[in-house]
């Protein structure tokens, strides 16, 4: 664990930067503007065609994976400090980083399956 700590901090800050720059506009469009009807949803064909572009695939993988690792790292320490769960260190770390890793694998697999 100790040996990969610098890597985890790097993923935390990279993911925090990705989320800070990219999440507000995407959340505004997909989460609010489209469901509220301010904006038409992308048709299935154009959404799929857009996601299949090689650059878009890379973008989407980074967009999903790094912020998940950002969450894993930050939430892990919040659980330690906020809920005083220091004795569950290993379990919490495995659950947090495991979730981020699972999300990354799932995103990569799905992007690959888009064909």
């Amino acid at each position: 664990m100790r040996r990969i700590t610098p890597l985890l901090w790097l993923l935390f800050s990279a993911g925090g930067t990705v989320a800070a720059f990219l999440f507000p506009i995407h959340l505004l469009l997909l989460g609010l503007a489209v469901p509220m009807g301010w904006l038409d949803a992308l048709s299935y064909e154009s959404a799929r065609a857009l996601a299949k572009h090689p650059l878009a695939r890379l973008y989407l993988l980074v967009f999903i994976s790094l912020p998940l690792f950002h969450w894993a790292h930050r939430f892990r320490y919040t659980l330690y400090d906020g809920l005083q769960l220091k004795h569950l260190t290993t379990l919490i770390a495995v659950l947090c980083y495991g979730t981020a890793l699972a999300g990354t694998v799932m995103a990569a697999y799905t992007l690959w399956k888009l064909g």
């Binding site: 800070a20 959340l27 969450w71």
Partner: protein, 140 residues
């Protein structure tokens, strides 16, 4: 990171006051700290929504239509509205921390903090504008 202290037989335990789990509500800056840390939950939530959208795209038109319909439910509208506020809070706190995490020097002089923060906001607006432009153009 370490497991708790180990006591030996003749070593007395230390006196420690129990701290409430709600310690962070007693002070504004503590509450701000915990709210800032909790933005990560909403960051993960939205990453999950995007992953869900990708899976729907891979599965077919019906799954995609179902995904869009689900986002219109009051539950997801409320979650997305709250998430938007928290994500904005993340962006603002993240940018304001940047000069503390990274000292930028130009010709041997330290670039003032507010310039570093300001450039972050400018870059953010440009990136958001470009993304909105691309995503809106695909629609027309």
């Amino acid at each position: 990171m370490s497991a708790g202290p180990r006591y030996t037989l003749y070593h007395p335990g230390w006196y420690r006051r129990r701290v409430s789990v709600w310690w962070w509500l007693q002070n504004r800056s503590y509450a701000g700290f915990v709210l800032r840390e909790l933005t990560s939950v909403f960051v993960a939530f939205f990453a999950g929504v995007y992953l869900w959208q990708l899976r729907a795209l891979a599965q077919g038109p019906e799954a995609y239509a179902q995904f869009l319909a689900r986002l219109k439910t009051p539950l997801f509208l409320a979650l997305d509205a709250v998430a938007f506020v928290f994500v904005l809070f993340h962006t603002i706190t993240w940018f304001n921390l940047t000069p503390k995490a990274m000292v930028v020097r130009l010709r041997g002089k330290r670039v003032p903090d507010h310039v570093v923060v300001g450039l972050n906001y400018v870059a953010w607006l440009v990136v958001s504008g470009v993304l909105a432009f691309i995503l809106l153009r695909v629609r027309s």
